[in-house]
Amino acid sequence: MGRQTLDISPVGRVEGDLDVRVEIADGQVVNAWTHAELFRGFEVILRGKDPQAGLIVTPRICGICGGSHLTCASWALDTAWGTEVPRNAILARNLGQIVETIQSIPRYFYGLFAIDLTNKKYRSSRFYDEAVRRFAAFTGKSYELGVTISAKPVEIYALLGGQWPHSSYMVPGGVMCAPTLTDITRAWAILEYFRTNWLEPVWLGCSLERYEEIQTYDDFMAWLDEDIKHRESDLGFYWRMGLDIGLDRYGAGVGKFVTWGYLPHEDRYQKPTIESRNAAMIMKSGVYDSFTDTHTLMDHTFARENTTHAWYDEGTADIHPFDRTTTPTQKNTKDFNNAYSWSSAVKHQDFGRLEAGALARQLVAGGKHGESWQHYDGFILDVFKHFGGANIHVRQLARVHEQVKLYREAERCLREFVLNDPWYIKPQEKDGRGWGATEAARGSLCHWVEIEGGKIKNYQVIAPTTWNVGPRDSEGVKGPIEEALVGTPIEDPTDPVEVGHVARSFDSCLVCTVHAHDAKTGEELARFRTA
């Protein structure tokens, strides 16, 4: 059987415009290219603007994890200005970040991922009829409940910031809000509502406490067999169906993983600096190399971008984001031997291409590196080892696993607030370089800012999907999603749902990726327009 080339435009249900080309031989993908197809040039826009412009502009890079962008923008300015941030404000930022991610889990699982389980391809699965009953778009029982209840956690964001998405309540030196007892009580009640109406009865089929006992793959399987409620919960049902339809058999990727770490501790990061960040995070940073089974800390100085196969005229060298002077190519023709995406290829100076996302966070959470007090959770690493590496199914379990621990952390923020203590300490503006990072639901996000003469000289963003969806680098090494697509079986080339599974298992978010780039000067772009 000869090779067949399949151009899929668009893939859909990844946020933003993703196109994929795959080469198929003997019913399997043997080569793949991912292209991000939108350019807005946010960093061009930020250049020359007020130092605080990023607080308004960068949440609008992405409406899905705007709170994560706001977090990065604030911490970047905090490190540049040398602010002091009161503990209430650190907790309030963390709480905003957490509820945004808690929102994203059911919205992603039901809205973007699980509806493919109702694809006709799976008609012969014994789970199919039930999958349709639960996961059918808009009308499925769990779809409707899950998508609707996903709006609840961000009501807590609105109590702090007035609205979700797109508030700018986090500012250098703290937060704009000063919640009252009313806000805190409501926030508790909203969390409780979420837990008692979906998280426990529908998603887990058990109490949070019972779920928290699961530490290993064997624990998880024992939990599954223990009670019909566990097996028939959405998590239990999804797990069994995913295995039945073979989601554990493809989608491996590059086998190396990255997280910046997130949730700074309220007592350890009140005088934030770039250098002191790693030791102050509750969720530790790191790189996990599955080939050597080793964990190391991640640092912003390790990040490199390469634009050899991207639509920028910037040569073929790997450069640190602080040094990028991005120049978009005028004519963005798809050329598979040359440039074919607006995304750059991001890499680690030593480890090369890395996968970002919930799986990466959980694999790093299973490492013994970092500080003794930092969060440790070995469950997903154990599952990963059981399966001998990544696949769609493990990536999916990791994506939904955080729900319970983030829920607990949200409760802790609410307990730790001291309502009459400060929420903001007015900082002194000054020139300098700053860096802010976090983990958006879908992976590692960071902002680099350089302020000179009281205005932004350079603003650079690397979003989670920039790591994952990037094209080949200067050595021709495929990006994580490109690599994960290789080996994917394609049953029906007119409906390549399997390609969708792989892309969506990364929870790709192109809307960030494709505008994380700038041009050399606004003047040059103006000239382009009139050329």
Binding site: G12, V44, K49, D50, Q52, T148, G161, P165, K455, G522
Partner: protein, 320 residues
């Protein structure tokens, strides 16, 4: 059944995320109870690749009736008017938009990018973005000043960054239930029902505005955000303090200055140095006053208000 096709141009998906927060009705209720049929949506649609391209052509060719075209995000024209920097389903998005706008009974622009061009269109507008029928306050936009959908209406503009979910659902339901003729549009084609009043209307800090008691710094439970922190609540047309966000609050209630995001000028002053979260003043008087207020009267009002202000106006107001 009312067929809805929702597409995104230079978008951040923020309006989609906002829409998904809708509660009365929810997005699922829209389908189950109000007869709205989502043909496709970038985050929610089932089809991919060729199958979607076929569906889009069927809409253009009239094989599938296109009742409502919802557009989110700016129209990207770069480079050089070709739109190639925003390709979708194998064509520039603007080419799809051009064809689909001719086939649609109603066109609804959700969010600032689709209405005015939004953040992507701010200076220096690298993506050559514009809104569907406006660029900032200037009429025209991508479809032109004279564009009318098949039902005879201009693009219905629901601005905001993002648009409030209730603003979106109420307009979709109004169309689906034959009530759209009741909705008056203002001179920027915004439904007056949401945009006739000001953000300030219903703000819990109104009493501080009246007595000229200012919030001087963030993180305070007292004071009005207009005098020092750049709040645009008194000058911005929106219902943010009447139809609360996420059912619970609004930016000004939480202590964040209104950025004026339902107005075409957002982000104001193009975020030039010194303009972010700072009220622009001349000799201590705000450069911009609430519409219809004369400078001379404002000065008089300030004097009287400060004189009349009770002590509690400067004290912690919403205490723990």
């Amino acid at each position: 059944m009312t067929n809805v096709l929702w597409l995104q141009g230079g978008a951040c998906s923020g309006n989609t995320m906002s829409f998904l927060n809708a509660e009365e009705p929810t997005v699922c209720d829209l389908i189950a109870d109000f007869g709205i049929n989502v043909l496709w949506h970038p985050s929610l649609g089932l089809e991919l690749g060729d199958r979607l391209q076929t569906l889009l052509w069927d809409c253009i060719l009239g094989k599938i009736p296109l009742d409502i075209l919802v557009f989110e995000g700016s129209v990207v024209n770069a480079p050089n008017g070709t739109g190639e920097w925003n390709r979708f389903a194998d064509r520039p998005m603007k080419a799809w938009l051009d064809d689909l706008a001719k086939a649609a009974n109603f066109v609804v622009a959700v969010g600032d990018c689709a209405t005015w061009g939004g953040i992507p269109a701010m200076e220096p507008n690298p993506s050559e973005s514009e809104g569907l029928q406006f660029l900032k306050r200037k009429e025209g936009g991508f479809l032109g000043k004279d564009y009318r959908s098949k039902a005879g209406l201009p693009v219905i503009n629901i601005p905001g960054c993002p648009a409030h979910p209730d603003w979106i659902t109420q307009i979709l339901v109004a169309i689906a239930t034959g009530r759209i003729a009741d909705i008056a549009l203002d001179d920027l084609n915004r439904p007056q029902t949401f945009f006739n009043t000001f953000t300030q209307t219903g703000c819990t800090r109104n009493v501080h505005f009246a007595y000229k008691a200012s919030t001087a710094e963030f993180g305070q439970r007292k004071g009005c955000l207009f005098y020092d922190l750049g709040c645009r609540g008194p000058m911005t047309h929106s219902s943010c303090n009447r139809i609360l966000w996420n059912r619970v609050s609004s930016k000004t209630r939480a202590g964040m200055p209104c950025l004026g995001c339902t107005e075409p000028e957002f982000p104001f002053f193009d975020l030039k140095p010194g303009t972010v979260f700072k009220t622009q003043t001349v000799m201590g008087v705000p450069k911009e006053l609430p519409p219809g207020v004369k400078k001379k009267d404002y000065a008089l009002l300030t004097m009287v208000a400060k004189d009349a202000a009770p002590d509690w106006a400067e004290e912690d107001f919403f205490t723990v």
